[in-house]
Structure formats: structure tokens, C-alpha cells
């Protein structure tokens, strides 16, 4: 048993230690260094045994409004897109549970299928739709609804739409799972007792599906908060999010320590609270 245990555990354990744990610790370490025009482009943390930790990066994060704005944008756009995903996800997941049993696997497959096509292509598709000479504006102009093209791309609207679109399948699945586990008799009972279908949905179905809805919300919020590709392609200079700031510090400014400090900030301010919330809620659900 022990030999088997070591055999099974050693490879994934070693791999995870080297390629997940050590790199994350390196981020923490380098966030306390200073950029340097050298290879590697940052100062060492220890010099002859003396600790040379610099907190300059974190001080700058607090002082410079640029980073606070990026954090605010991340929270705002990821929050709005999460809300959109949950509302649309609930409507679609509920519709799937109401469909005939034989149809449900087909419908779920259809919902997941776009997730398999390239993420980049799906975001790209929206550029073609949203840009000033794009299809949406062409259609609206052609129908005479608007006189001048609407500015849809390079806006917060574009970012929220793109993120909602890309992450929607992830929200539908956990919500569907929690709705499918509910007995339809519960809603029927509420309706027999005088509730309208909408009331029954709001007062019975939603509270029971709470763990699934929360799981869906966190599942989409966390990656959205650190999203880079979508705000970069569909947003503009006013919608810069944390992931983009990190990217710019890293690739354009070659300030690796600052990029690392931003990664630490992103983890501390967005990921850990979200995960703590998940834990709390899961604990409640299992009780």
C-alpha cells in the first residue's frame, strides 16, 4: 500500500510543487524586488545573507491612481458580467430543466459546444459585429433606427458583453445541476397554495438553487477579474483592467517586480475573498 501510495502521488505531487507552488512563491518574492536593466531584470532579494526586501512596488500601487482605477474597472466589469451571466444562465438553465427529458442532454451539449471553439475566435467574432462599420451598426443604420454608428467597441459595454458571452456556458452548467436536482413538486405546491409561477420561481426555486448560483457566480467572476484578452480586444484606454495593467508592466515596461506585485494584489483582493466566500457557502450547504 505504501509503495503504491508513493508511486501514485510522486509524479503529480512533484510536478505541482515545481510548476505551481514554486512559481507562485517566486511571484511573491519578486514583488519585493526592484526592476533592473539586467538579466534577470530584477534585484536579488538576498545579498550575502542580508534581506533586501523593497516595498516600493506596493507603495506605488497605493499611490498611483492608475492601479486603483484598474482594480475598480476589474471589479465593475467582472461584477456586471457575472450578474448578466447569472440572469441569462438562470433563464436558460431553467428552460432546459423544463424541456422534455430526452432533449436535455442534447440542449446541454449545444450549450457547451461553443466553449470548445476557440475563445479567441469568439471574442474576435464580436469585434466584427460591434465595430462602427460592423454588422450591428450596418443593420441599425439600414433599418433607419440610428443616423450615426453607435460606439460599441472600445467601451465598457463591449467588455461586459464579451465576457458575458465567453463565460455564459460556465454559468449555465452549475445552475442547471442545482435546478435539475429540485423536485418539480415544490414549485407545484407553491402554485397550488396561491403563488404565481413567478413568485414560486423567486421564493422557492431560487433560494433552493442558491449554492449552484453562487458556485456559478464565483466560477465566472474569478477568471473574469483577471481577464486580459477580452478587455484588450473589446475595451479601450478607459476600460483598462488589472490583467491588462499586469501585462503592460511585464511586456511594455519590462517591470517584472511591479507585474508580480500586481499579481499578488489581484490574488489578495479578488481571489482569496471569492474563495473564502465559496468555502463559507459550501460549509453552510453541507450542514
Amino acid at each position: 500500500m505504501t509503495a503504491r501510495r508513493i508511486c501514485l502521488l510522486s509524479l503529480p505531487l512533484l510536478w505541482t510543487a515545481v510548476f505551481v507552488v514554486v512559481p507562485l512563491l517566486l511571484i511573491l518574492k519578486i514583488s519585493f524586488a526592484e526592476p533592473l536593466l539586467a538579466q534577470p531584470p530584477f534585484t536579488p532579494l538576498f545579498d550575502n545573507g542580508a534581506l533586501l526586501a523593497q516595498t516600493g512596488n506596493y507603495a506605488l500601487l497605493m499611490e498611483d491612481g492608475l492601479y486603483a482605477r484598474a482594480l475598480g474597472n476589474s471589479l465593475l466589469f467582472a461584477g456586471l458580467a457575472t450578474l448578466c451571466c447569472l440572469v441569462l444562465g438562470l433563464a436558460i438553465a431553467r428552460a432546459v430543466t423544463q424541456a422534455p427529458k430526452a432533449w436535455q442532454p442534447v440542449l446541454l451539449t449545444l450549450i457547451i459546444l461553443p466553449f470548445w471553439t476557440s475563445f479567441l475566435i469568439r471574442v474576435y467574432a464580436w469585434i466584427a459585429l460591434l465595430k462602427p462599420e460592423g454588422l450591428i451598426n450596418a443593420a441599425l443604420l439600414g433599418l433607419g433606427v440610428i443616423d450615426a454608428p453607435l460606439v460599441l467597441v472600445n467601451t465598457g459595454f463591449g467588455v461586459v458583453l464579451g465576457m458575458t458571452y465567453s463565460y455564459l456556458p460556465f454559468a449555465i452548467l452549475p445552475i442547471y445541476a442545482s435546478l435539475a436536482g429540485q423536485s418539480p413538486k415544490l414549485t407545484e405546491a407553491a402554485i397550488d397554495l396561491g403563488a404565481t409561477p413567478l413568485q414560486a420561481f423567486w421564493l422557492v426555486t431560487i433560494p433552493l438553487a442558491r449554492p449552484g448560483i453562487l458556485a456559478a457566480g464565483l466560477m465566472v467572476f474569478i477568471p473574469m477579474a483577471g481577464e486580459f484578452v477580452i478587455p484588450d480586444l473589446l475595451g479601450g484606454s478607459a476600460t483598462v483592467m488589472l490583467g491588462q495593467t499586469l501585462w503592460t508592466e511585464f511586456f511594455s515596461n519590462r517591470d517584472w517586480p511591479m507585474a508580480s506585485a500586481l499579481a499578488v494584489l489581484l490574488t489578495l483582493l479578488l481571489l482569496l475573498p471569492a474563495m473564502a466566500l465559496q468555502r463559507l457557502e459550501l460549509g453552510k450547504a453541507s450542514r
Partner: protein, 267 residues
Amino acid sequence: MNTPRMSGLSRLNLAALALGLAFLYLPILLVVVFSFNASKLVTVWGGFSLHWYGVLFSSPAYLEAALHSLQIGAAAATLATLLGTLGALALTRLGRFPGRQVFAGLMLAPMVLPEVILGVATLLLFVSLDIERGLTTVMIAHATFGAAFVLVIVQAKLVSIDPDLEAAARDLGAGPVQAFLLVTVPALLPALVSGWLLAFTLSLDDVVLASFVNGPGATTLPVRVYSAVRLGVSPEINAISTLLIALVSVFVIAASLLYKRTLTARG
């Protein structure tokens, strides 16, 4: 009594489904349609043409990037399947060992963490170890990322396989490795195939990790497409997108057929 209420609800549900699916599919469909557009303008239909596919296949930069992506994808998916499966076996078959929760959390971390963080972290590792960046470093990053997804898929399947089956094979004289290969692996096969395909697709799709850890001469297809997309919409990208969608569709359909056959074969 219930009928009118039900039909009212299902009309609403029907609308939700139709609009939801239209929202998910129409943008992709438009990319495919416009890849066959003769006009250079991406929003004006100028007749059917395969011109842009010709442009694509005569562009060595795209072909080379596609080859890199396929190589990295196949290697990363295989490694991810191995790592994820071993991880899933450790989590389901070893009982409660010390640090089990931490091990599970760390193996799943690449799935949860934003890609920019994983990208910076992995690059810092390679730079600290003074490893030259290239196809291998991208492959390693993709394998780490994919292993988390494989773990979830394989673990879900493993829980439903009775460990007594393997024990029965042992009682009948099979060695531990033989019992595992002849009993558990065939039952796991659909999960292994879906896991491999998912890891392959994720690798074929990734821009962020590859941008951080690739080196000169190791550009992958998404990185190439991404830099082109940043410059604006162009018909070649529609063509390349269509090819990628077709490729992935073939894989997904093959996987689901395979999955169905394994299910029916076992009754």
C-alpha cells in the same frame, strides 16, 4: 387544470432557449460565413470565394505556427492526461492521507487562477532556472494547466467505478498493474479521451500562457492570430477561425461518438 399554465411557461422557456442559443451561435456562424466572402470588406458580401483559404495556405508564418500548436497540444495533452489521472487516482483511491486537501487545491489551482498570474509565475520559474524558452516551456505550462481539467473529469468518473472490481480481478489472480490496466483503464477510457481532448483544445486555444513562456521561433497559432486581430478584423482570420472550428468540431463529434459506443458496448 395545469395545461394552460404549463404552455404559457414553456413559451417563455422556448424563447429563452432560442435566444440563448442564437446568442451563443450567431457570432461564430457569421465568422464562418464571412470567411467565404470574396470581398476584402468584412461586412459586405461580395460573393462566394475560397480566396482567403488560399492566402492562408500560402503563408508560411501561419503554417509554421499551426504546426507548433499541434505539436505542443498533442504533447501537453498527453502529459496532462497522465498527471491528471495519477492525481485523480491518488485523491480517490488512497483514502485520507495527510495534506490531501492541500494537494487537491494546488493541483486545481491552475484552473482557478487567472491565466496572467499563472503565466507570470511560470515564466519567473523558467528565468530563475535559466531555462531557455521555446516549444518545451509552452508545453510544460499547458500540461500543468490541462492536468487540472483532466483531474476533474477523471475523478468524476473514478468515483462511479466500484474499487471492488479491481479487487475481484486481484482475487482471480491478476497483478496490481494488470488489474488496473484490464479493469479500471477500460472503464475510465471515455473520461481519459474527453480529458485528453479538453487539454488539447485548451492548449490549442491559449494566448496568455503561450505569450509569457514562448521564446523566439516558438510562436503558436493563437499568439499569431492574436497579434493579427489586434491590428483589426481581416478575412484571413475568418478563414483560419473557420478551419479551427471545423477541426475542433471533428474532435468533439469523434469524442462523443466514442463515448456513446463505450456506453452501449457495456450495455
